[in-house]
Symmetry: D2
Subunit: 140 residues, 4 copies
């Protein structure tokens, strides 16, 4: 499966450290934002609905990030998400950040494993059927 | 002067605390984002240009915030900025946050005083002429 | 009442912006940390107990901050909290930040109004008797 | 080499999400804090000195995190850092988070690769001799 969702982000003061480049915990916040943005605007199933009404959480169990090149204050990045696998209870997601509108190498590449969890029992549950269907048949 | 710029924001996990409402330091980050968004997309003078090329910073000297009603995960807010005064070296800004697309009372009202500073000397400088003109003649 | 609690903080990368000084939303996070630290280590009533077991929240309703002088990466600050008033349902708190171990002027002065709220009804409740007593008779 | 530095952290409101557990980008901020704390209090070479005077930065190039069990508001964690390798220009670091004072499994395990960089040229430099010596001969 290729890229299925892109979230734009403008690098601002809140992202940058005294070296004038993005502070890496802020990149990880951007990774989480990309997943939320996809759930809401790509899948049409917001974290709020999953979390608030359906009592389903999607905690991360593994995160791997290659920080390839720095990003600076004022740059526009494109955060491209693709699904690399749908397991029984989990999703494998890759997110790549590039400078928007520039033909430049990837700045950052991340692999995330998320698990669907029932918030009452805090135990893994199967990937909800509507989420699985939206991913597999491609609402894309 | 009335509202001159509006920034939308979606309330996500990163903004919310265990009570499920926006954690107030995150609101203050949103206030700063609103000012940056106005400088970049309203005035057309990004923080990056002021900061990186022109070596001008705009630190805050006074902040007053009324937290009127809470905001929750998944809500869309509109952050409306207006200029309440242009001094010799400073700006007075008011920002109001409302739920977007809902006829509801203001959630949060903030007053900020920002001062223009030369980053070499760290002393106040006069509001740059292009910024003053853009505000007063209304590129709006 | 004088200062009743001091929280130390080391200014790190996470607090600082590209100008090398503390980014103001991070200061507001430090203000909140100071209140939590006082509740836990001063009063002996942690946010976790109030929040988790007693279902009491203490949202902020008004915040006023004077940013007097900047703080830099690597500095040690002392965050001094005092109670300026105990109302029926609210507390008035002042927090001053100074450079620790240096005879320098205040860097930042903040006034916060916090209200005690029942998390079930989300309505104000009277300041809990044990909190009021601990403040007034002075575990201090 | 075994654990060479431990930083304590109290889980507060700023770390937690609406599920009442630590939001994972905040864990990554804690990982960075642990490295800064070691540089300052373990090695005795603060980020501020490296960064401000010696113009050396230590950006991360690879991060791998296993999120094993959640942490909750009010818990005390111990963040244990060990050095797993010193290369020509890089350090491999492992950080494990456990609940302090409890005989419980690891909550989170992270591996970080950091590279020493000259801030003028932004190119890798050899691990500074004083840092290498402090690690290898064991100020520990």
């Amino acid at each position: 499966m290729g890229t299925i969702h892109v979230m734009p982000v403008e690098i601002g003061f809140k992202h940058c450290d005294p070296a004038g480049i993005v502070f890496y915990p802020r990149y990880v916040e951007i990774l989480n934002d990309t997943v939320e943005h996809w759930l809401r605007h790509g899948l049409g199933t917001g974290f709020a609905t999953l979390h608030g009404e359906r009592r389903i959480a999607i905690p991360i169990v593994n995160l791997q990030v290659d920080f390839i090149a720095p990003s600076r204050l004022g740059e526009d990045l494109a955060c491209a998400l693709r699904i690399d696998g749908v397991g029984r209870t989990s999703l494998k997601i890759t997110i790549e950040l590039r400078r928007a509108g520039h033909d430049e190498p990837v700045r950052l590449r991340a692999a995330l494993v998320l698990v669907f969890v029932d918030m009452h029992t805090m135990r893994p549950i199967e990937v909800p059927e509507d989420v699985r269907r939206a991913i597999e048949t491609g609402g894309y």
